[in-house]
Homo-oligomer: 221 residues x 2
DNA sequence: ACAGATATAGGTCATATGACCTAATTCTTC
DNA sequence: GAAGAATTAGGTCATATGACCTATATCTGT
């Protein structure tokens, strides 16, 4: 679709060469944040197919030129959006696992609560749905997601280590992977997800019941 | 993007008015099938953003005119593709649950095997990833998926009915929903999925171990 | 005040797309 | 062989897009 694919030829322009959302001043950094917020909105509402630089600029209340000053290309926008979001999400995951002390079982309950709460946001659910679809065609997205899920899984592994120390590390790793997959699948059908119409009331309730059954009798999870 | 949004005004053309992949002759039906195959390929490879009528026509080895003879609009293509695929998938689900007699536990194992086998296909996994993303913006897709998952869940409910008859129907329904969500989540990380790099080896193995643990001791699943 | 970072508005260009149309063939079926 | 289905090739048109460019204006820290 575009005209030139000219990839930063040797001779750069004499003037500055801004890239990748680099902002020097505070106000600029703020702008970059707003632009990414807008990109997030557009991606979630209109999907990747509907994500255009013009659309993002308009949503952000910023000129196209300004947007392209910070993000010369569409890829740059997606890249930055992804990096920002996944980084924050990862921090939240770890904050959950480490914070909120107490006995392991209680911590697991808290962690589950936190995940479910996150999934109440249609934004987050839809964002991930887009990323899953995108990952197949964009190695950068796939890599970023791989990093994110590795961190996510590591958090769950840590929880499992306290809950059932008798499991070998490898098996903990696998069980954590199963749990992460389970929660991601859940996000499809839960409150914020786009398929909540395909769901069933009382899902979360049942999940918690199941959780208690597994936690109380024997540490076999 | 398009020019006219003219929605079938009252006065139709005097000549025939083909729509929705309607084919009268056998060869035509075959063509429609090939076109939908091609659409599937393109959707999986290039995503919805890359799904163009011209692209599908080329992939199918068919002229654009011919494609539009069967499917006047892009929506028609997606609609038909969805209908065909989900219908077949649903039939397979039910075939699994009913077929392959034996004791309930054995049937569950078979069903799990079948689901995992399906997920080995990158095609299927990616197709669903696209649909999940699409569902938020296309009510038709959301509805079709809702029907599909309702059928899927019904199959699982039937299995649960035999495995643990002591559960109330409502709880069976909820547990089935949890299981379906789990399997869908699994598809993200498994062999065919686009995030297999974010996964862990031995996932399926662990899943089966967990399954046996749940099946053997007590019927508490 | 000065340099450089931010920001705006506007334009260009090649390419792509969906929807629409038509005239001319080739198959199928009866 | 005639009617109608199926198919092709080609064209038109409005709209959109990404990338690229520039001149000008404003803001910021020193």
């Amino acid at each position: 679709m575009p005209r030139r694919a000219s990839k930063k030829v040797a001779g750069e322009l004499p003037s500055s060469n801004p890239r990748e959302g680099t902002a020097v001043h505070a106000k600029g950094t703020e702008r970059v944040g707003h632009i990414l917020d807008a990109a997030m909105d557009v991606l979630v509402q209109d999907g990747y197919a509907g994500l255009s630089l013009r659309g993002v600029a308009q949503r952000a209340g910023v000129s196209l030129g300004n947007l392209q000053y910070y993000f010369p290309t569409k890829q740059d926008v997606v890249r930055a959006l992804l990096a920002r979001y996944l980084e924050q999400a990862l921090q939240r995951v770890h904050a959950r696992v480490e914070g909120g002390g107490g006995e392991p079982a209680q911590r697991l309950r808290h962690a589950v609560d936190a995940v479910l709460e996150d999934q109440d946001s249609p934004q987050a659910c839809q964002f991930f749905a887009e990323l899953w679809a995108l990952a197949a065609r964009d190695a950068m997205v796939a890599d970023a997601l791989a990093v994110f899920y590795a961190g996510y899984r590591a958090g769950v592994v840590e929880l499992l280590r306290q809950l059932c120390p008798d499991l070998t590390p490898a098996r903990r790793e696998r069980r954590a992977a199963l749990l992460v997959a389970f929660f991601e699948g859940l996000s499809l059908f839960r409150g914020g997800g786009n398929l909540r119409a395909a769901s069933v009331p009382g899902l979360e309730q049942e999940l918690r019941v199941l959780l208690e059954q597994v936690l109380l009798p024997q540490p076999a999870l």
